[in-house]
Amino acid sequence: MSLFVNLTLNGITNGMIFAAVALGLVFIWRATHIVNFGQGSMAMFTTYLAVTLLDRHLNYWLAFAAALVAGLVMGAVIETILIRPLAGKPALNPVIVTLGLFILLEGMAGSIFGIGSRSFPPAFSQAGLTFGHTKVAFSHFDVFILIAVVALMLGTLALFRATSLGLRMRAAAFAPEVARLLGVRVGRILTLGWALAAVAGSLAGLLVAPTVSFSPNFMDLVLVYAFTAAVLGGLDSPVGALVGGLVTGLALSYVGGYLGSSLEPLGALAILMVVLSARPEGLFSRPAPRRV
């Protein structure tokens, strides 16, 4: 029983992190119809910047904020320099470029920061909370993870639904040519989409780092699971990213807890196979109508 409770709590926290990374993938997919395979490495890189600042005894929250800002800048720069020139070219090109970005950033991080594992300090205590006599696998830091990702989701919802900028972003994603004819500067909107996606990734990186062995490839598996979550939820649905993240997190937690942690990647593969055979567009996506 307590194993189930602990696996569930563990699944929820991991799921929220997958949701945050998946949300970044969704932003970029909606804006540019590209799957950003470099999403995890971008997050890794900005997390390394944070730990470098923390090593120099900068205040924790300043380093945290600096990583988010670095993500914003990095996303904007990458979109402008690497991704924009790919517009109108074959669909395989962005796949190659973002995979290349993934390899480049991991290599750079290894060169600059070293390839060995180290630890990343958590923002809050990672000791399990106690309810009555029962200790659960849920800490203050896990509460922080939940709050941070919920805040990200609510912020995203508010941006898209309640602001003019969000309206422009939705129009640019749904109908870029029509949006341009209405004066929306679609190019700038795309850059902003990438920048915000990178911030979501940076946040996820800062939330994952204290829970794993921190090295240049610490986000690799997270990206694989987040990608699974995004496909499950629907690559163009922010709500899908959240639900997909939670479902993936819970499923993998149970697989890992009851069947063995080495089977978790297979669990993700199984989810992908089921989704892609039964409902390839994902749970919350509208199937694209065929135009005849």
Binding site: L167, R170, A171, V178, R180, L182
Partner: protein, 235 residues
């Protein structure tokens, strides 16, 4: 005034427009007519900047439009309702309309602009929170035109507004376009397959065939030329 001079546009090996020349005066309705594939849509898309020309010039109020981005051409007062209307189905009626107001108007001004559009098109007012995907053809056309008008343009490019619409709705929309041109000095360039409707509200007409201008003259003159009508316009 819209001034198109010796405009040539090709899509790869296909020459869509060859040396097209005509003017559209301020406050007038100019009908652009011709068979399918004549180049009419290409003409509008070149004026609004979606397509780049190979040679020739397009100027509006003395400003050369070639080389400008679509977004900057819009900011000169040009509004293009594309073929198929371009209603964004994933947004509501009000969101579609608001989109047109964003670059031009402040937050407070947008509300009164939208109210003006709703006055022009009462069915849109009733359905303002509906998803645009639920609108009928006539309502979509109203939405597309309303949205184009919401930035208070001085040049309106309309690509086949009557497509798929019942004759009564077409007549209402054409009457509205003529009224707006007369009352607000809006310059309208109207591409139409429904030649009779277009000629009924236009002052000037340009007939295009295989990318070339066959005639650019007063609409009444074009309408009276029975040989021209039979040959190029099908009636």
């Amino acid at each position: 005034m819209l001034d198109v001079e010796e405009l040539s546009v090709s899509y790869g090996a296909v020459q869509a427009l060859r040396g097209v020349t005509f003017q559209a005066q301020d406050g007038s309705v100019t009908a652009v007519l011709g068979a399918n594939g004549a180049g009419k849509t290409t003409l509008l898309r070149t004026v609004s900047g979606l397509v780049k020309q190979q040679s020739g010039t397009v100027s509006y109020d003395g400003v050369k439009l070639s080389g400008l981005s679509v977004e900057n051409i819009v900011r000169l007062g040009v509004s293009h309702v594309p073929e198929g209307r371009g209603v964004i189905e994933e947004l509501t009626v009000e969101e579609n309309l608001r989109l047109g107001t964003l670059w031009q108007f402040s937050h407070r001004q947008r509300r009164s602009v939208l109210d003006e559009i709703y006055e022009l098109f009462p069915p849109l007012a009733e359905g303002r929170s509906r998803m645009a995907s639920t609108l009928s053809g006539g309502e979509r056309q109203m939405l597309a035109i309303g949205r184009a008008l919401s930035s208070k343009p001085t040049l309106l490019l309309l690509d086949e507004p009557s497509l798929g619409l019942a004759p009564l709705v077409t007549a209402q929309i054409m009457a509205l376009v003529r009224r707006l041109a007369r009352e607000t000095r809006l310059t309208v360039v109207l591409v139409e397959q429904n030649v009779r409707s277009a000629l009924s509200i236009a002052e000037e007409a340009v007939v295009i065939n295989l990318g070339r201008v066959v005639i650019a003259d007063r609409a009444a003159t074009v309408a009276a030329d029975t040989q021209l009508r039979h040959h190029y316009l099908g009636f």
